[in-house]
């Protein structure tokens, strides 16, 4: 294996470990030495990869956004109706919340709750563009095909993602009486009914 590839793998494992720790223990409670210890590497070596905790935090949000964007991109490429795509996007999102809760938790509990950390370098949608772009493409396709009603981007985006984020938040608070997958059908239908042309 070439050095560059090795480094890339190491970088990804740092991101994944930090993601775990940040979302379970909180951003401020987690230190760089905590992460280094868990990875069995020296603090100094970790700093070779990420020069500060803030920068690491920003890289993680890009990483999760890309990962989610990748999955939605697959949905966007499918030749199915907007209604089915909504169902698939909701499934993707909830499945990720189920299987890799740290991904969504990170977004809700670290990214949205510690804006000062992301102020420089992750202004606005810069670090979540991998995900936002795919949602834009989904909306654009569905409006031009006449399936969804044309409206302002944010009124549609807020309804869609605010709803999903809210459900995952409730799940995290353990107030949902049933497993999150139980809600996929109804929520998908609700979103479609709200946005359809």
């Amino acid at each position: 294996m070439k050095i560059a590839e090795k480094k890339a793998l190491k970088r990804e494992s740092i991101i994944q470990t930090a993601l775990q720790l940040f979302s379970t223990n909180g951003f401020h409670k987690t230190t760089i030495p905590d992460i280094a210890t868990k990875l069995q590497m020296s603090v100094g070596n970790l700093y070779n990869y990420f020069s500060s905790k803030d920068i690491l935090a920003q890289e993680i949000i890009k990483y999760t956004s890309e990962a989610l964007g990748e999955k939605i991109r697959v949905v966007n490429m499918m030749d199915v109706s907007a209604e089915e795509k909504i169902h698939k996007i909701v499934t993707v999102y909830f499945t990720m919340a189920q299987d890799k809760p740290e991904m969504i938790e990170y977004f809700l509990r670290v990214y949205l709750s510690n804006r000062e950390v992301f102020k420089d370098g992750c202004d606005g949608m810069v670090c979540v563009s991998g995900f936002i772009t795919e949602i834009m493409i989904f909306f654009d396709d569905s409006v031009s095909s006449g399936e969804l009603r044309n409206q302002d981007f944010f009124s549609a985006f807020g309804l869609f993602m605010g709803y999903l984020g809210g459900m995952v938040f409730l799940k995290g608070e353990e107030v949902l009486p049933k497993g999150i997958e139980f809600y996929i059908d109804d929520i998908s239908r609700n979103i479609y009914n709200a946005l359809k042309a």
Partner: protein, 298 residues
């Protein structure tokens, strides 16, 4: 001493508003350009033959300039179908220049009778039955009107016996390789996705709300300026895509958007690439682009 006779130039009009004629008359070097040719007939300049001679089919023609949309039957001059005149001279000519969008693709007047009215060699983007016969000598200069310097480029290239590189719609690539967006003074606002707040402001881009088609319209309007001084977008008017086969589309002062995303992307730009950039640049508020460009002291 033997003097080679100048090539003869015939400017023939079909269904037109004369806009290309008047556009060309604005050329600052008009007469030096025309001095390379013998004007056998022109809609407004003095010419060596009358319209009746033209109608009688007697006029020599090396370069035929066609202005206006084409119809096979029903448009007559002095009792003669103009379509037959066009065929007569197109056959004689060594070069055919379709001047303007009407002659090239059908243009505005096509909308009166879309079944029967078209350009001479193209009907919108499709080739007409005439294409195969005349394609080898055809140069397209779409634009409503065409720019006078686009015409002079073609005429001077022909006079100098130089080959004009053209694209699949026979448009010279040196003129239509660009988009109207190229050289627009509002480019910074486009880059940063900042929409103009209203008409009548020098700040802001017209692509997001006001219907500007500059980023996907071929033409060098912002490189070779109109009347040597300005352009639509420089004067705050959206580009209406008048050089394109699709001109005129509906709702020309309005950008069609899908949930705020322009329905049509800049020429050749994949949507995913465009939207990725959009999401990023929209995240920044840059003061210089949100204030007036110039402030005068009271």
């Amino acid at each position: 001493m033997f003097i080679t006779p100048k090539p003869t130039l015939l400017w023939l009009q079909a269904i037109t508003c004369n806009g290309n004629t008047h556009s060309f008359l604005n050329h600052p070097d008009l007469f030096s350009i025309l001095s390379h040719f013998e004007i056998v007939h022109h809609p407004s300049l003095e010419s060596s033959y009358t319209m009746e001679d033209v109608i009688n089919g007697e006029v020599p023609c090396d370069v035929l300039i066609l202005e206006g949309s084409f119809i096979d039957e029903g448009f007559l001059k002095a009792g003669v179908e103009v379509s037959s005149l066009i065929h007569t001279y197109a056959t004689k000519a060594k070069h055919i220049i379709s001047a303007g969008t009407c002659a090239t693709f059908g243009g505005i007047f096509k909308q009166k009778d879309p079944e029967n009215i078209s350009g001479f060699c193209f009907d919108l983007e499709e080739k007409t039955s005439r294409y195969d016969t005349y394609a080898s000598k055809l140069i397209s200069l779409p634009g409503c009107p065409m720019h006078p310097k686009w015409m002079s480029y073609v005429l001077l290239m022909l006079a100098a016996n130089k080959k004009i590189a053209i694209d699949n719609l026979h448009r010279p690539v040196e003129l239509y390789g660009y988009t109207v967006h190229t050289g627009c003074t509002r480019n910074e606002y486009f880059e940063w996705k900042i929409d103009t707040k209203n008409y009548g402001l020098k700040e802001g881009c017209l692509f997001y709300e006001q219907g500007c088609q500059g980023p996907y319209t071929r033409g060098s309007c912002n490189k070779i300026l109109w009347n040597d001084i300005s352009s639509k977008t420089r004067a705050g008017t959206p580009c209406f895509g008048c050089t394109e086969p699709t001109f005129p589309k509906a709702s020309l002062f309005h950008t069609q958007t899908n949930m705020g995303i322009p329905a049509k992307m800049p020429l050749g730009v994949p949507r995913r690439a465009y939207l990725t950039l959009t999401g990023v640049v929209k995240s920044f508020k840059i003061k210089r682009f949100t204030t007036r460009l110039l402030e005068y002291d009271e």
